[in-house]
């Protein structure tokens, strides 16, 4: 709603949708149309056939987040939307970072990698590939530390998320009728 609201923050949504052609298009089109600021969107299958699960991170105030939820529910193929922002949840991102690492600095790079509990998944004479899983901040931290050595290539999956509670049985999309967001005010 408001471009420079001090209450802007990251909102993490988990969306369950029917796994049909065009559904991702509908979701992406919604963000573009309503000019929501999307940070990342990941999609994948779930343990339920025919249901896919998206994690969507947007930036905005709470009203924007609520409107986004309501607009997602307007998509006929969307089954369930959950805003994890204010819930205990695990949010993870995975990055592969190809760093320049000739023999003389390799030891240093390996040490940094270790401190961040990242893994080296490939080593060549000139470069190595680091894999890190973690929160946005942690990955950003590693990137900053590796920057001086020279990052040759970087890829990130975007966030995936899950609540910590054990409610998932009741909360499985096949038990849930499409809902609408909590009352407006």
């Amino acid at each position: 709603m408001n471009g420079h609201d001090p209450l802007r923050r990251r909102h993490v949504f988990v969306v369950h949708a029917e796994d049909r052609p065009g559904v991702l298009d509908r979701v992406a089109s919604l963000f573009r149309r309503r000019s929501y600021n999307i940070e990342s969107l990941t999609v994948g299958r779930t343990d339920q056939p025919g249901v896919s699960r998206m994690t969507i991170v947007i930036e905005g105030d709470d009203t924007t987040a609520r409107l986004m939820e309501a607009n997602l529910y307007k998509l006929v193929n969307v089954l369930h939307v959950e805003n994890l922002t204010y819930k205990p949840a695990v949010v993870r991102d995975l990055a592969l970072i190809k760093v320049k690492a000739t023999a003389e600095v390799r030891a240093q790079v390996l040490q940094v990698t270790d401190v961040f509990r990242a893994r080296v998944v490939d080593i060549g004479p000139e470069a190595l590939i680091v894999e890190i899983t973690g929160t946005e901040d942690k990955i950003q931290g590693l990137i900053e530390v590796l920057e001086p050595y020279g990052i040759l290539e970087l890829v990130r999956t975007g966030a995936v998320a899950m609540t910590r509670s054990a409610e998932e049985v009741a909360d499985r999309p096949d038990f849930i009728a499409a809902r609408f967001p909590e009352s407006a005010a």
């Binding site: 052609p21 009728a177 407006a184």
Partner: protein, 570 residues
């Protein structure tokens, strides 16, 4: 029973209660047109697919049932887009059926292949691509259900040619459609009703803002009951006109950019707005940051995504409006609110009174005269489809619609060219109704080809062309905001009388006020389409006007020197 996909389409359409459809054939929809000959469905051959979409829209708005339009793939389907966008913005239930190239050709840039579901994604409520014959029944049933339920809207079903020619077992069931991700039947929770009722009971200066939702949910009598019981003056959006009796003492008239001055002022002074089935469009709010600054807001709306979209509300009641009001009404206390009503009367007194009938004839023909006279002649009972522009706003101001679904106008999209095809659709939906088109000389020319359809269908409608020689509404903006530099707004027109006659229709021209009555007589006594070319004052402007983005009560008023200035003592 095995049927072809083409036959199945019409089996479903006729079972959905549709007796008339609007369309245009072509290669990819040929099988469906072939099968159509064997079904008792009246097909109206339009002259451009945009007309088909507007006709389906007009049919839907006049009747409340789903309107159906049909087009071929590629250009046929893309020609529907404006009409679908229009239906989408105004929540009109339309089902569009388009042919698509055969499944193996999809993605190959085949002749007349367009990604129609892609193109129409943002302008439909939902859309489908059907590639298998056995999917036609469930998909079309879903399409009709989605189009008409919840907040209605257009649904497009794109059916490949091979799905139309293929065979499948046809089975029909009356089971309600169930879609796991689609729940249109939302209900507010009871504690919200209590909060809404408390706000209404405690308000001193409440105002009802009634919109299109009142009409779509058939909630007029509940709104009247709310207004009467709690003594709440009621104003209407453009699409809400007809949703509240215009002569009711609590009816204030239209709000917004060209709304009544007293309404806009009252909104800015109110302490409570009760918004019923409307969406706080920028044309009704003006500057949002100064909108109704002293008012709390209750928003009754079927679409939860409308709550807090433009205006922050204190209580939101999500659900069908009639059901919402039925629950709310018993919680309301009777009140008088004499001071507030007297205050609004005062606002009216010293501002515009719109009845121009008493002003002397100065020899000029004004649009307001024509529309006011049409209204009197038809007792406010005709179905009136307007186009977009100045004449549309004058129609809204001067035609007092006595009942719902009688004003058919393009609100959200403001689509020029809408009036004629929409009126035609409305006439098919309500064959006994007197139907009038009120169109500008500019907009009429956008879809004038449908006159030929009127002739082919022997349609009995009356068309008032408000001919001011300008794209008047744009000219007005140029006059007010661009130093009277009339860039691309003077417009030439054909001889509309001859144009009518060339189609075998009746044409009339009216140049003075004295001849207006007679033109109605002639039009109403003629069986068939009549085109009346009203040569009106060229540079008249619509007042009051809230310049876009202005505070709602900062309106440009009609200069007093103008011959049809608004009098205070009427």
């Amino acid at each position: 029973m095995k049927l072809s996909g083409a036959q199945i389409i019409w089996e479903v359409v006729s079972r959905e209660g549709v007796d008339t459809i609007f369309g245009y054939p072509g290669g990819a929809i040929l099988p469906a047109y072939d099968a159509l000959l064997d079904y008792p469905i009246h097909h109206v051959l339009v002259r451009h697919e945009q007309g088909a979409a507007h006709m389906a829209d007009g049919y839907a708005r006049a009747s409340g049932n789903v309107g159906v339009c049909v087009a071929t793939s590629g250009p046929g389907a893309t020609n529907l887009v404006t009409g679908l966008a229009n239906a989408h913005m105004d929540s009109s239930p339309v089902v569009a059926i388009t042919g698509q190239v055969a499944t193996p050709l999809i993605g190959k840039d085949a002749f007349q292949e367009t990604d129609v579901t892609g193109v129409t994604l943002p302008v439909t409520k939902h859309n489908y691509l059907v590639t298998r014959t056995e999917d036609i029944v469930p998909t079309l049933r879903e399409a009709f259900y989605i189009a008409r339920s919840g907040r209605p809207g257009p649904v497009l079903v794109d059916i490949t040619k091979d799905a139309q020619t293929g065979q499948a077992e046809f089975e029909w069931s009356d089971e309600p459609v169930s879609l796991p991700g689609y729940r249109p039947d939302l209900r507010p929770v009871s504690e919200e009703f209590r909060r809404a009722a408390d706000l209404i009971n405690a308000a001193e200066r409440p105002l009802i803002l009634a919109g299109h939702g009142v009409i779509m949910s058939a909630a007029t009598s509940q709104v009247v009951e709310l207004a009467e019981k709690a003594s709440v003056p009621t104003s209407l959006t453009l699409l809400g006109l007809g949703g509240f009796p215009p002569r009711h003492p609590l009816c204030l008239g239209m709000m917004g950019m060209h709304g009544e001055a007293w309404v806009n002022t009252a909104i800015q002074r109110a302490d409570l707005l009760i918004a019923l089935g409307m969406r706080f469009d920028d044309r009704v709010t003006g500057n949002l940051s100064t909108y109704a600054p002293t008012a709390k807001k209750i928003h009754c709306e079927i679409d939860p995504a409308e709550l807090n979209k433009n205006v922050r509300v204190d209580v939101g009641l999500v659900g069908d409006l009639r059901a919402t009001l039925e629950t709310l009404l018993p919680l309301l206390a009777k009140s008088e609110r004499t001071d507030w009503l007297r205050y609004i009367d005062g606002l009216k007194g010293d501002s515009a009174v719109r009845d121009i009938q008493k002003l002397p004839d100065d020899g000029h023909l004004y649009t307001a005269h024509v529309i006011n006279d049409v209204c009197r002649a038809t007792g406010g009972q005709a179905v009136v489809a307007t186009d977009v522009g100045q004449h549309q706003m004058w129609a809204a101001q001067y035609y007092k619609h006595e009942s719902p679904r009688t004003l058919i106008t393009s609100g959200g999209l403001g689509t020029m060219g809408f009036a004629l095809p929409a009126a035609m659709g409305a006439k098919f939906a309500r064959k006994d109704a007197e139907v009038w088109v009120i169109a500008g000389d500019g907009g009429f020319q956008m879809t004038a080809a449908e006159l030929s359809t009127c002739a082919q269908e022997n349609l009995n409608i009356n068309i008032a062309i408000i001919n001011n020689g300008y794209l008047g509404m744009v000219r007005q903006w140029q006059e007010f905001f661009y130093d009277r530099r009339y860039s691309a707004t003077p417009i030439h027109s054909p001889d509309f009388v001859k144009l009518a006659e060339a189609h075998g229709l009746r044409g009339l021209r009216v140049e003075s006020r004295a001849d207006v009555e007679e033109s109605f007589e002639a039009a109403r006594n003629h069986e068939g389409t009549v085109v009346i070319d009203y040569r009106v004052e060229q540079e008249d402007s619509v007042y009051p006007m809230v310049p876009s983005g202005n505070d709602l009560d900062k309106m440009i008023r009609r200069p007093q020197s103008n011959p049809i200035y608004e009098t205070a003592d009427d």
